[in-house]
């Protein structure tokens, strides 16, 4: 095979058995790699009703056919498992260098099964795979674990690990790699913790076989040029990182503030990308073979490290009413150390603040901290308590839905399918509302980033307040994203590249035919198998919705005043476009068309 290493590494932690299996070429053609291929294999092997934190759940780390190749941004990997947060399929993506290194070790993916009887870590050095004792690592922060493993590991090894939050089965725990990179969402870190697996160290020295090296060189040159000449990927993201979005989203009046009670934050500029670059940025921190280099490395009087990203700044900043950038950077730092998802952590603190505001959280639960909107010390303090599951932080560590539900008011959780929504108020961005409601992993912006056409004007500007055309745009964005997530490339390339470009790269690398049409069809196929897994897991169409606040309470101020998400005006058309019945269930005809069961 070309583009692929052709090998799946399967490790059973219950039995200690390690094996290598051949990758099925037909499956690779139908499901590409990464998110698609791992989901297909996962859904075929695992009962959808499995308890996500039981040994019967499996955990897959998957690269794509472009991971570890000379393509721009080809260093990413995808974690696929059943989510303990949402009970849906989880596919959580991360950058850095670990994904490419796994490919160099000779594997397209790792499937981890069972549960070790004591803490362990896995060390992979090409063909040599060992399960090793991790007693000395358990309880350690991400930086401590990485420091220790780097000393013992083969030279140039890359390290993936969970922090204390994953060990303590926090349903919003992340898997961290290369210190600051996170497969953040959907609680994948808790699945790793439930298997007593602390870390995976990998070192590889093999090349990725390429079908047509000359053609790939040509296509890479063309795509890299597009990335460098595009205003977003060539200048905006390299200069300011993702945080550049703070001001533009706020200016549009769709920057959720105080747990979505407001939609504009008066002090947004204090936590903007411009402020970050001016006062706190010390260097850029790019991923493997990335010509964009959006990654930030920041320093305050107290901490320094990777990040923060836009979503993180919003979650701890605007959503908690906090305008203190050093506190936001510190909260981000502790999320990286404990291995917590920054979006779910910040938004859960915001939900706790509203629960406190409304009298649900009592004085005796405060543990010396405040839960007032705008309190900078609170976001740092509660992040640490969530990371260690201390006091009220124990309950908060399972996310905002379970926290609000425990007080009998789950609607205060600004989540979809129990996963917290990120940093865009969908009441003023109609297509994004549909994208959130129909996302296969719950509240998420990177399943269909309608912000791109509705706010940023890419590839063309859509009126953000109208419904017309939004179901079509949502489906195309979701399908293309599913394909990109399966290649091993970064989604940010799509600001500059289209379906044809991705098809050309995968074709040159693998030798398989990939037209733009086939690219979108593969994305559609992947989307449908995710949906079918969710349905089998009991997450039905009744959950294709948004919190009541966003459907019923109009925005009260600013440029998007008076708006709610008019989901009813889009959902039926969306289901119909997908070839699903009126209840949002894929029809037999659709399944036949895509060749899925």
């Amino acid at each position: 095979m070309f583009g692929y290493q052709g090998n799946i590494l399967r490790i059973n932690l219950s039995t200690g058995k390690v094996g290598v299996e051949k990758l099925d070429e037909k499956l690779a053609k139908d499901y590409v790699g990464g998110r698609g291929l791992a989901t297909k294999i996962f859904a075929d092997e695992v009962d959808a009703l499995v308890d996500a934190l039981s040994p019967a759940n499996k955990l897959i780390m998957a690269t794509g056919p472009l991971s570890g190749t000379p393509t721009p941004t080809g260093g990413r990997y995808m974690v696929v498992t059943k989510s303990p947060l949402t009970d849906t399929i989880a596919s959580s993506n991360s950058g850095g260098y670990w994904g490419a290194e796994l490919k160099f070790a000779g594997y397209d993916m790792i499937i981890v099964e069972g549960k070790a009887n004591k803490p362990v870590y896995i060390q992979i050095e090409d063909d040599n795979v060992e399960i090793k004792d991790a007693a000395h690592l358990w309880g350690k922060l991400v930086s401590e674990t990485t420091d220790i493993l780097e000393k013992d590991a083969p030279e140039k090894a890359r390290i993936l690990t969970i922090g204390p939050a994953g060990e303590k089965l926090s349903r919003i725990a992340a898997i961290m790699n290369d210190r600051f990179r996170a497969a953040g969402r959907s609680g994948v870190g808790a699945v790793m913790g439930s298997k007593n697996l602390k870390a995976i160290v990998v070192r590889g020295t093999k090349k990725v076989p390429i079908a047509d090296p000359e053609k790939l060189k040509e296509v890479v040159k063309d795509c890299t040029k597009k990335i460098r000449e595009n205003g977003v990927t060539g200048e905006g993201l390299p200069t300011y990182g993702t945080a550049v979005l703070v001001n533009i989203i706020n200016e549009n009046g769709v920057f959720p503030t105080n747990n979505f009670q407001l939609s504009q934050f008066a002090e947004a500029d204090a936590i903007s990308g411009e402020t970050l670059a001016e006062k706190y940025l010390t260097k850029k921190d790019p991923c493997y073979r990335c010509p964009i280099g959006c990654g930030r490395y920041c320093k305050t009087d107290k901490v320094e490290g990777g990040g923060p990203e836009y979503e993180t700044i919003w979650a701890f900043g605007g959503d908690c009413g906090v305008s203190d950038m050093p506190a936001v950077i510190e909260a981000n730092f502790w999320c990286n150390e404990y291995g917590l998802d920054t979006i779910s952590t910040g938004t859960t603190i915001a939900a706790a603040m509203e629960l406190r505001q409304r009298g649900f959280i009592k004085d005796h639960e405060m543990d010396g901290l405040s839960l007032e909107f705008g309190d900078a010390e609170a976001v740092v303090g509660w992040t640490k308590k969530m990371g260690m599951r201390e006091g009220l932080g124990d309950k908060m560590a399972d996310g905002s839905y379970r926290l609000a539900e425990s007080h009998g008011i789950p609607e205060l959780s600004m989540s979809v399918k129990k996963q917290e929504m990120p940093a865009y108020d969908p009441r003023g961005i109609q297509g994004q509302g549909l994208s959130y409601a129909t996302s296969n992993r719950g509240g998420c912006h990177v399943r269909g980033y309608l912000i791109s056409p509705e706010i940023l004007g890419l590839p063309e500007k859509l009126d953000r307040f109208t419904l017309k055309g939004k179901p079509e745009w949502t489906k195309i964005f979701q399908d293309l994203t599913a394909f990109i997530d399966s290649t091993g490339l970064c989604l940010f390339t799509s600001f500059a590249m289209g379906a044809e470009d991705y098809g050309n790269m995968v074709q040159a690398a693998t030798g398989m035919e990939w037209s733009a049409e086939e690219v979108l069809k593969a994305g559609d196929r992947i989307w449908n198998i995710e949906k079918l897994f969710n349905l089998a897991s009991g997450v039905g169409p009744d959950q294709d919705t948004l919190p009541p606040r966003l459907l019923k309470e109009p925005i009260g101020e600013g440029p998007s005043v008076g708006e709610v998400t008019r989901l009813d005006g889009m959902l039926d058309d969306y289901y119909s476009l997908r070839g699903w019945d009126e209840n949002g269930i894929p029809t037999q005809a659709k399944k036949d068309e895509l060749g899925i069961e």
Partner: protein, 74 residues
């Protein structure tokens, strides 16, 4: 009339981030760009009072014009 202009990202370079412009009656956004010596091609996103605006749109007293170069993220 008084128009408030808010500049972002690289458009802030060599300029302040927020300023008041006093312009003659019925100015367009184009006039604002001329006053600030901003090349229209450098403006990717143009908002008037937080809503999508156009370069030839006529402004009224108290309008807030927000100008962005190409930006993105997520």
């Amino acid at each position: 009339m008084d128009i408030k202009v808010r500049l972002f990202a690289t458009l802030r370079e060599g300029r302040s981030k927020e300023l008041m412009l006093q312009l003659e009656e019925t100015p367009s956004v184009e006039k604002v760009l001329t006053e600030l010596e901003i090349d229209e091609r450098d403006v990717a996103i143009l908002l008037i009072n937080g809503r999508d605006g156009a370069i030839d749109q006529i402004l009224t007293e108290g309008d807030v014009v927000s100008l962005f170069p190409p930006v993105g993220g997520g």
